[in-house]
Amino acid sequence: MKTMLKVDHVSISYKIGDFKDIGLKEWTMRHLKNQYHVETFMAVEDVSFELMEGDMLGIIGTNGAGKSTLLKAVTGVMEPRGGHIERNGSISALLELGSGFDGDLTVKENAYLRGAMLGYTKDFMDETYEQILDFSELREFAERPFKQLSTGMQSRLAFAIASLVQPEILILDEVLSVGDGAFQEKSAKKMREIIDGGAATILVSHSLAQIRELCNKVLWLHRGRQVEFGEAEAICDNYESFLAG
């Protein structure tokens, strides 16, 4: 079996401090008064795991455990401070659904823009655009400005676009919990198709039932540190008893 993704002792840091949204004037003042403080905050520390072909990895952990940060490093948006990430395939990520869409553009324009962001080609989008409309059930809204869509519709579109390709590594961050019941079922079915297609998938979810149902491996993070990595069932049980106190 082929290793799709290897995360080797990865640490990721954030800069924190009240340096955001300040101007040059304020920056200078703070430097003069010696009040400019920037701290490094380790959001993820020493995490290692491996993803094989056909694997479905669930990442669990309480809020602030570093799940999203870890995914950002996997997709290459963030650079790990330590450790190494080895990717053996194209990555398609669905991070925080609404982001990256533009409210003033139409559904169609947004679909193409999003497709382009995910690295699809124009020909591919031309071919699959109809499928996207069908899958997301947004045909009658195609020429409407995106901001007129409900949140559920927006995430349906995002899912429809991202799931169309057969990315070798698919990343889903809290995605399956959107849409109404019928759509959730549809998207779960689509997901299973992708997984069966041989791709490796990473799923972040707060729904343990979902993780148990879909994933064969689980990574449990707590405050940036890796608690456990391995077979899904056992870790889910441990996590559940941890949550219960």
Binding site: V77, G100, L113
Partner: protein
């Protein structure tokens, strides 16, 4: 290497250009007309105010004025819009791994098209004013090329700075005012001493404007040093901008 990357992201680039266009002109013909009209209005106002003072001493004063206005309005348009290209697209680059300079490039495309259209109107003015078109006009490709690169470079620098310092917009507003006054858009520098006249060339904008006027009004080809200086400014701006993007590539994320 960079070309290869550009090819890989060609589709994204064209979609970004479309988006910036749609947003800039709000899908109206009037929106597009307005962005060309506004420099023309400026031209009209300047002409009304200053032609009495300078019109008699300067040959083809309208063309003289227009050359300055043409270069300067492209510069302000490209840099002001370009400044927002990182902060405005934070929602994208904090989620998806794409080359960050794409946002600035696409923003510059609409400014460039604007400039192209204004340039056509400029040549119409030149023709109306009775200036003959010569082969030397082809040389204008050179300052235009330098100006494009220069504007891109300044755009890179400003957009990076704007991520860190949110008052850059106001500072840049003041600075462009200053550059405007120092670019001799509506006045001539003939009455200054030779040293001062040379000092004006330290202002890249003035250099580009001067190139246009030399070719179009004087019908002379600028010296080799002049050409080198133009390239120097363009490459310096681009170099600094590219260096900042490279150095802070993974830092921008913390500040947005």
């Amino acid at each position: 290497m960079m070309l290869q990357k550009l090819k890989q992201h060609q589709f994204l680039f064209s979609e970004l250009v479309k988006r910036d266009f749609a947003k800039k002109y709000k899908r109206t013909i009037l929106g597009m007309a307005w962005s060309i009209l506004s420099p023309l209005m400026n031209l009209l106002i300047m002409w009304m105010v200053f032609s009495n003072f300078f019109g008699n001493n300067v040959n083809h004063y309208v063309v003289y004025l227009f050359a300055g206005q043409l270069v300067f309005s492209y510069f302000t348009d490209a840099t002001n819009l370009g400044m927002n290209s990182l902060v405005g697209n934070a929602g994208i680059f904090t989620k998806v791994n794409v080359p960050k300079y794409l946002f600035l490039l696409s923003q510059n495309v609409s400014s460039l098209i604007n400039f192209g259209l204004t340039l056509l109107i400029f040549f119409t003015f030149v023709a109306i004013d009775g200036i003959p078109f010569t082969w030397k006009f082809l040389l204008l490709v050179y300052p235009v090329g330098c100006l494009i690169v220069f504007n891109l470079g300044i755009g890179l620098i400003l957009s990076a700075l704007f991520v860190f310092f949110r008052d850059m917009q106001y500072l840049w507003g003041i600075l462009t005012q200053l550059i405007m006054w120092m670019s001799a858009i509506f006045y001539t520098i003939d009455s200054y001493s030779y040293t001062v006249q040379c000092a004006f060339l330290l202002n890249p904008l003035y250099l580009f404007i001067r190139y246009f006027r030399k070719i179009v009004i004087d019908g002379t080809i600028p010296t080799l040093q002049f050409h080198l200086l133009a390239t120097g400014y363009a490459l310096a701006a681009l170099g600094i901008g590219a260096y900042m993007y490279k150095k802070y590539n993974h830092e921008f994320l913390y500040y947005v």
